[in-house]
């Protein structure tokens, strides 16, 4: 059964059936990562280009490893190493890549909507690796995968997302993915960092972090970027940590078997304290592992590889 969509741009646009297909495929591909020889020939002869207009370590590495484990060739282009700095337009850049035979483009870009624009410019499939403040669908999928793997289900779970929702593409993808899979979503954070319209899509907006965490099954803590303080969204990092940071006392309000998640990289002592980040409830490292599996699944489904 193939994916219905040609590209993976946003979980808002994906239905539960496709999400389930991706998670199931990731489930069956994950074991490749634990083999002695971590390589299958499935995508041999395919070329995956990662085009990053923003710095990234884990997402980019995760995509590259996923491609390599499936035997695809990978090329990475970043703002510091290509003609992007010479002022070439996105359209020209990707047309060049396509002309050289790229079969799939993974892009991260600082402007929301850029992957939609890219998909219009390109015949090859596009995977959004984060577009501005819009979506980060592969992160959303790996979060769903992690929760489902640990809890056995998504439906009926209560997930609290804490922090800077306004600027977070992870939050948007998580929210859509969770809602589509039947989970309940709560958010909490400084009111200046909560976007309008959350209630309209069925998210419960909590006034305090405590309210959001009460009896939660899963807590996803978002990275707070220090430049938001300079932007005037909150007065100080100290005050942020005091009122909106997740610590052991607050995590204690959630269910005893709560999963503590963070998309990384963490600001220890700001949005999350080290004791819980390294504690038994944290699944932050598993998220990273699962990210590779989910990206293998997407490459496989979009490039139409056949299992051997």
């Amino acid at each position: 059964m193939p994916l219905k969509s040609h590209d993976v741009l946003a979980l808002e646009e994906m239905d539960a059936e496709d999400i389930r297909l991706i998670l199931d495929t990731a489930d069956s591909l994950k074991e490749i990562m634990f083999r002695a020889i971590k390589k299958v020939p499935t995508l041999r002869g395919k070329t995956v280009v990662t085009l990053f207009y923003e710095p990234s370590t884990r997402t980019r590495t995760s995509f590259e490893l996923a491609a390599k484990y499936m035997s695809a060739d990978t090329v990475s282009i970043s703002t510091t190493t290509s003609s992007i700095q010479k002022g070439e337009t996105l359209r020209d850049t990707v047309r060049t890549l396509e002309a050289m035979g790229a079969d799939l483009v993974v892009m991260r870009h600082p402007v929301s909507g850029s992957c939609h624009y890219l998909a219009r410019c390109l015949d090859a499939p596009v995977i959004n690796a984060g577009d501005g403040m819009h979506e980060h669908p592969t992160q959303g999928l790996l979060d769903l995968f992690t929760i489902r793997e640990r809890k056995g289900r998504l439906e009926g779970l209560t997930v609290a997302i804490v922090g800077d929702i306004l600027h977070s593409r992870v939050a948007r993808s998580d929210i859509w993915g969770l809602l589509k899979m039947g989970a309940r979503v709560r958010v909490a954070g400084p009111p200046t960092l909560l976007p309008p319209g959350l209630e309209d899509v069925g998210v419960r907006v909590c006034r305090t972090v405590e309210e959001a965490l009460q009896d939660a099954d899963v807590v996803q803590v978002l990275r707070i970027q220090r430049e938001r303080q300079r932007g005037g969204y909150f007065p100080s990092v100290r005050e942020y940590a005091k009122f909106f940071g997740v610590n052991a006392a607050r995590l204690g309000l959630a269910k005893p078997d709560v999963l503590l998640m963070h998309p990384g990289p963490m600001n220890r002592g700001v949005e999350i304290t080290s004791d819980i980040a390294d504690g038994p409830r944290a699944v932050i490292r598993e998220q990273v592992t699962n990210g590779v599996a989910v990206r293998m699944a997407l490459l496989y489904l979009l490039l139409g590889g056949r299992e051997e």
């Binding site: 909507g113 850029s114 403040m133 976007p195 309008p196």
Partner: protein
Amino acid sequence: MSEARLLIRGGRVVDPSQELDAEMDVLINGDRIEAVGPNLEAKGAEVLEVKGLVVAPGFIDLHAHLRDPGQEWKEDIGSGSRAAAAGGYTTILCMPNTSPPLDEAARIAYVLRRAQDAAMVRVLPVGAISRGLEGQHLAEMGDMHCAGAVAFSDDGKPVADAGLMRRALEYATAWDTFIIAHAEEPALAAHGVMHEGAVSGRLGLRGIPAAAEAVMVARDLMLAEMTGGRLHLAHLSTRESVRWLEQYRSRGVAVTAEVTPHHLVLTDEEVARTGFDTNTKVNPPLRSPEHRECLRRALAEGIIDAVATDHAPHHPDDKDVEYDWAAFGVIGMETAFPVLYTHLVQAGILSLARLVEALTWGPARVLRRHLGSLRPGWPADVVVVDLKQERTVDPDAFYSKGRNCPFAGWELRGWPRYTISAGRLVFADGQIL
């Protein structure tokens, strides 16, 4: 003096300035209207048979960007005026945010001279409020007025300094001219690219809140009341702006206002529907449906005086980029009437007479000029519209150099058939003559 006479025979004359809506003839003599009435005798006159078509005063656009001088690859006075004629417009105001800006008399004179040489329709330049559009010092408004500037605006940018706006409104009273306000509080609009609301929240695009406009509308209305200056509010987009306008107008403050076709027809949902199409990026931004409903009501009830296009041509290179980096603005003159006829008049939201009024007599009253009416002796500016003609919007067929049209591919009815500017037939059956 014998001048050419033209009899426009048998059409449905809709002239809100005289409350006319009936089958009649219009007789033109030279560049003036000679008579309007049933079964006019006009021996020797050329005859244009328009039975079944609507005959109205030529449309007036209070708000167009012609990009001339300085950005002629986007538009120039000739191409902009051809777009106007094709859209049924016979008078257009061009905004001063050119390069260099229209901030001194010689540049106003340049526009008028270019218009004389190249324009199909009447082009009325708007002068800058501040030198260099920099919002610091008043430009030489008196000098520009004498050279032919009909109003003053820093449009494209707000006048952030309340003191400067106050002086501009005051100073303008010396020449009985008026100020066109682009109402936008920069600190609230900062870096926004679309309306702030549920859709911007979903799409992760930075928002421009409705209050960014309304607080400036309120400020400018207070300043207009205080100074007695005449204020015209450009491209209104929010419910709160309309409420402030209504309140100050009822107190007798000299204020008028316009609204664009795109704000009347589209909403912020269009950004999502089109997958971040940059032709949905305009300033002020497309608002949410409740704002649009309020604008429609305000136009229908006459609280808003005029429809103006804010025709803002851009080169495809300025739009064929990522959303944040795309230029603001859409073109509008060639689609204004069919867009509004199809989506407001045929939808039962606005009467045909009120739409015509908002394109003719409404803006003429803002200008306080003898325009926008088929009264005998007034300029022979006439448009003939075929309400039944249906056509798909094809930007490649536009006379404007701009292709940045948010209505591409839309099926619309009510296309202009003939445009007569100062007695001269300048557009007929899809062709500029």
